[in-house]
Symmetry: C2
């Protein structure tokens, strides 16, 4: 399947690499591909520059947001949440129309200090903002409640016995997202309803961040037990 | 131990009953004890009126917020979150001073429809509001991420193998809260830091509410797996 992954950071790299490993035809989208490839410093989190990653993944293409979106049958939004609407605008509404747009982003707000708060919360969410801005895209929010390595390799934590949540307005897109999650190895996939449930999953971030501090590792997840 | 439980709803009843069963000397606090005892209708959730519950728990005293606070060495805030600051004001700052105040409340906002949103979120929390309003109380936020029956009987879900979170500014109060939780049967108690972490645990409510809808039961909890 032709999949566009928007965002060249750690999350975009991790998802693009995994999809490619699973046999998909992947193009990563970025604002300015030349600038992305020229960057030689690690990012703010200490991750190596994109070029170093791409040398390990020569089969993954790099293009503009619009090229990656035009290339693809389905898209993953792995841009920073605060920049997602702009990035998707550059991708182009026409290139998103009718396609699954798997939104894994969180809109973190560092302006109030650490740990970050959310740029949107409680009565709205990034997932809803994206669906409103691009009504013809089939937005599914998922995977935003864990670290990138766990998103694509759930078995890296507790043998994979923990949960991922999906929500969105389009049942077909949710089924497609669920199939993709299953290919990543997810067994416990809980449908929380329409895209307004993105408020709920995005508001998991604050406790996720506190737990990362308490556990001193991002390699954990939530299991819903009954 | 003499414990005051503020709030006569389902959460207050459940916690008061359990503490009493464990041997504590419990007084439930309410705005107007006569009015509480006169009420004959079930509450909005269909729970029986307080009087019916008290007939089953004759050893639990009922008093005003101030009487319950004055009676006690430690307090539990089980009032509705939107009314908590006012209820604690009636309890009286002097009656709270130096005591553990275990805040289990969530400030739900039904004005935006169902499921409810939060009255305070993201860059502040009810737990912090309470600590600011009553600086001499030793506020610990805990137990607000699950249904009342699970709060006091963690073994009712998955053999008790799941998590409760505590946070607060006073290490001694957190130790006291942890001991109380241990008496309830909690084995996995995670300290998330100071009272600002109440933002994180209060923001769990939205996903808890969505999961209750998806699972069709409130008898579940989160286990943090690594």
């Amino acid at each position: 399947m032709r999949i566009g992954v928007l965002g060249t950071g750690m999350v975009g790299q991790t998802i693009a690499g995994r999809l490619s490993e699973l046999g998909d035809d992947v193009m990563v989208g970025t604002r300015d591909p030349d600038a992305t490839l020229r960057r030689e410093e690690p990012d703010a989190m200490g991750n190596p520059p994109f070029r170093a990653w791409q040398e390990q993944h020569p089969e993954v293409k790099l293009g503009t947001f619009a090229e990656a979106a035009a290339h693809s049958e389905a898209l993953v939004n792995a841009t920073a949440g605060g920049a997602s609407i702009d990035a998707l605008g550059q991708a182009g509404a026409a290139n998103l129309a009718g396609k699954l747009l798997l939104d894994v982003a969180n809109a973190l707000d560092f302006s109030h200090g650490m740990p970050p708060s959310l740029l949107v919360a409680n009565t709205d969410s990034l997932g809803e903002q994206i669906q409103r801005a691009f009504p013809d895209a089939r937005v599914v929010k998922a995977l935003n409640t864990m670290t990138a390595a766990v998103m694509v390799h759930p078995d890296a934590v507790a043998g994979g016995d923990h949960h991922v949540f999906v929500c969105g307005n389009d049942p077909g897109a949710k089924a497609q997202a669920t199939e993709l999650l299953t290919r990543f190895g997810w067994r416990n996939i809980t449908d929380l309803g329409d895209i307004t449930a993105a408020r709920a999953t995005e508001m998991v971030l604050p406790i996720w961040l506190r737990l990362m501090g308490a556990l001193q590792t991002p390699m954990f997840n939530f299991k819903v037990v009954t």
